[in-house]
């Protein structure tokens, strides 16, 4: 079976699985959650969450359509400064003969930001392997460590340098937030990495880490979807990926048609959201006088 067909089948299977999961999560309702205690019975369809189902089916359809579109045409992505600087940071570390530090935050393995972070790590590790620049990855979660070891190992194999892979450079520190922070600070001061990457979910440790890295003179690139920590990264790092820029990083760096198609699908989704919001505002403003019934129906569709 050729690669293109197998990838299409894989994409289809993934899409079906995702949709299956989403549909089951949206419609299945345990008995204890039924309308009243007197009418306890298992429900297979939760009508109150139909709007979630519709959005998910619509979005899945858009993404699948974009995957087919992306196979035939080149797709444009606007430059993202933080990601353009990734290659410069790798080059700087290589020239200085110092390691790079990659911190994927405190998120668990199923966190969306952690998954996005692991995609970036794969790209970085591949470049690091090609230039034989060590990459240090201290982990806060044992499962994340296991997955990141696999990713870095695979990256070294793809770069043709499997022997250069050092599993001990990807290690578990502790699950304690500030214990982990203290240890990573110590690594920054002792190993003096030339480039620090903070990608994933961060909490109060964000500024402590970024400020220590700043003190050591390393080039720093951060990315998180935690809006409360973004201001600290913006002030203490050279480049910051804000929110969805972090999710886009995997597609941006790999230029894989599958990931680019997801990005295009997200953009189409944003256009639809914008149109729906403007429609809602117009209806809420003028429709109240003209067609009050329509306004109530339209707005209640978005209400959980």
């Amino acid at each position: 079976m050729n690669t293109a067909i197998s990838r299409q089948i894989l994409a289809l299977i993934v899409a079906v699985l995702v949709m299956g999961l989403v549909v089951s999560a949206a419609v299945a309702q345990p008995p204890f959650a039924s309308e009243s205690p007197a009418e306890e019975e298992t429900k297979w369809f939760n009508a109150e969450r139909t709007n979630v189902l519709v959005v998910m089916v619509l979005y899945s359809g858009i993404v699948i359509g974009c995957i087919y579109y992306a196979r035939r045409r080149e797709m444009y992505i606007r430059p993202i400064a933080g990601l353009e600087a990734v290659n410069d940071a790798i080059g700087r570390a290589t020239e200085m003969g110092r390691p790079m530090l990659y911190v994927s935050g405190l998120g668990g393995i199923s966190g969306i930001a952690t998954i996005a972070s692991m995609l970036i790590l794969g790209h970085l590790a591949k470049r690091a392997a090609a230039y034989e620049t060590p990459i240090i990855v201290p982990c806060n979660d044992p499962l994340v460590m296991t997955a990141e070891r696999e990713i870095v190992h695979q990256a070294y194999i793809e770069a043709g340098k499997p022997d250069a892979y050092e599993p001990d450079n990807i290690f578990y520190v502790t699950s304690s937030q500030f214990g982990y922070t203290a240890a990573v600070d110590g690594i920054m001061l002792r190993e003096r990495p030339a480039a620090n990457f903070f990608m994933g979910t961060f909490y109060a440790e964000a500024l402590i880490l970024a400020e220590t890295g700043n003190m050591t003179g390393a080039i720093q690139i951060a990315g998180t979807d935690m809006d409360t920590q973004l201001p600290f990264f913006i002030t203490a790092c050279d480049y910051t990926l804000m929110g969805e820029e972090l999710y886009a990083a995997g597609a941006y760096l790999s230029r894989s048609p599958l990931l680019l198609a997801q990005l295009k699908g997200q953009d189409i989704g944003k256009i639809l959201l914008t149109v729906a919001i403007i429609t809602g505002v117009v209806l809420a403003t003028v429709g109240v006088f003209a067609v009050p019934g329509l306004v109530v129906t339209f707005l209640s569709w978005f209400k959980p």
């Binding site: 989403v22 959005v55 502790t174 699950s175 214990g179 240890a183 201001p231 929110g243 256009i271 919001i277």
Partner: protein, 243 residues
């Protein structure tokens, strides 16, 4: 302090509470010595912090995770209230958990991918509908506000209307900043620049708010050193304390 010391136990004639205060104070100072730079005191504090937190996590995992959720219901059901027998369905998560340990056997380490894939898939499947509901639909509903809301005396509340307009413009412009598959030129470029302004104003407000919270944490630690630790060496500054 004397009352508390009288009720606590002693080691070598010293109250355990006093010993605890000294350990906490010295470790606090060791960690703060980082402000001077990397030094042996910081290294000691860091290694104790990491070691103790890992050990504490392991104990918590055993006594609050494995024992009540797996070992007792499966192997010691007589210790579980209302249990009618061993809960055999727990064998599935137990096997998945054990597969993680295959990392120690290089020949079979690929088996550890199964539980990781399961956790990632389940996590994503559960979080996607929740995210759609809370981050998209609820937010959209909260943004669809009238620009001319009715005010008192049958007129319009223009001030609230202006606030609603600002909200809608902010949301739409910020969304355009996160539009990746088109060049940010012309109208899209201008809208995304406005979006960046909205983002920066929000971040500025968030920065100030969080810095205030961090300062209060620092005040708490300094208060501990001044009012709990110093009195143990005979320096009394007054104010709050444990004694």
């Amino acid at each position: 302090m004397p009352e508390a010391a009288a009720t606590s136990s002693t080691i070598f004639g010293l109250s355990t509470q006093i010993i605890g205060i000294w350990v906490a104070a010295l470790l606090t100072l060791a960690i703060y010595s980082f402000l001077y730079g990397d030094n042996p005191a910081y290294k000691l504090g860091e290694h104790i912090f990491v070691g103790v937190s890992v050990a504490y996590g392991a104990v918590i995992l055993w006594y609050e995770g494995l024992v009540p959720l797996l070992i007792n219901p499966l192997f010691r059901p007589h210790l579980v209230e209302d249990a009618t027998g061993p809960k055999y369905s727990l064998i599935i998560p137990m096997v998945l958990g054990l597969l993680i340990l295959s990392r120690f056997v290089p020949r079979y380490d690929w088996l550890s991918r199964w539980p990781i894939a399961f956790v990632m898939g389940l996590g994503a499947g559960l979080s996607i509908p929740r995210s759609v509901e809370s981050y998209i639909l609820r937010q959209m509903h909260g943004t669809m506000l009238p620009l001319l809301p009715p005010g008192a005396n049958g007129g319009y509340d223009f001030l609230t209307g202006f606030g609603n307009l600002l909200l809608v413009v902010g949301v739409v412009c910020t969304l355009t900043y996160f539009y990746f598959s088109a060049r940010h030129e012309g109208l899209l470029g201008r809208a995304s620049r406005v979006g960046i302004w909205f983002l920066m104003v929000a971040f500025g407000a968030g920065f100030g708010n969080t810095v205030m919270a961090r300062i209060s944490l620092l005040i708490g630690r300094v208060q501990f050193l001044l009012y709990d630790w110093l009195p143990t060496i005979g320096i009394h500054l007054g104010g709050p304390g444990v004694g």
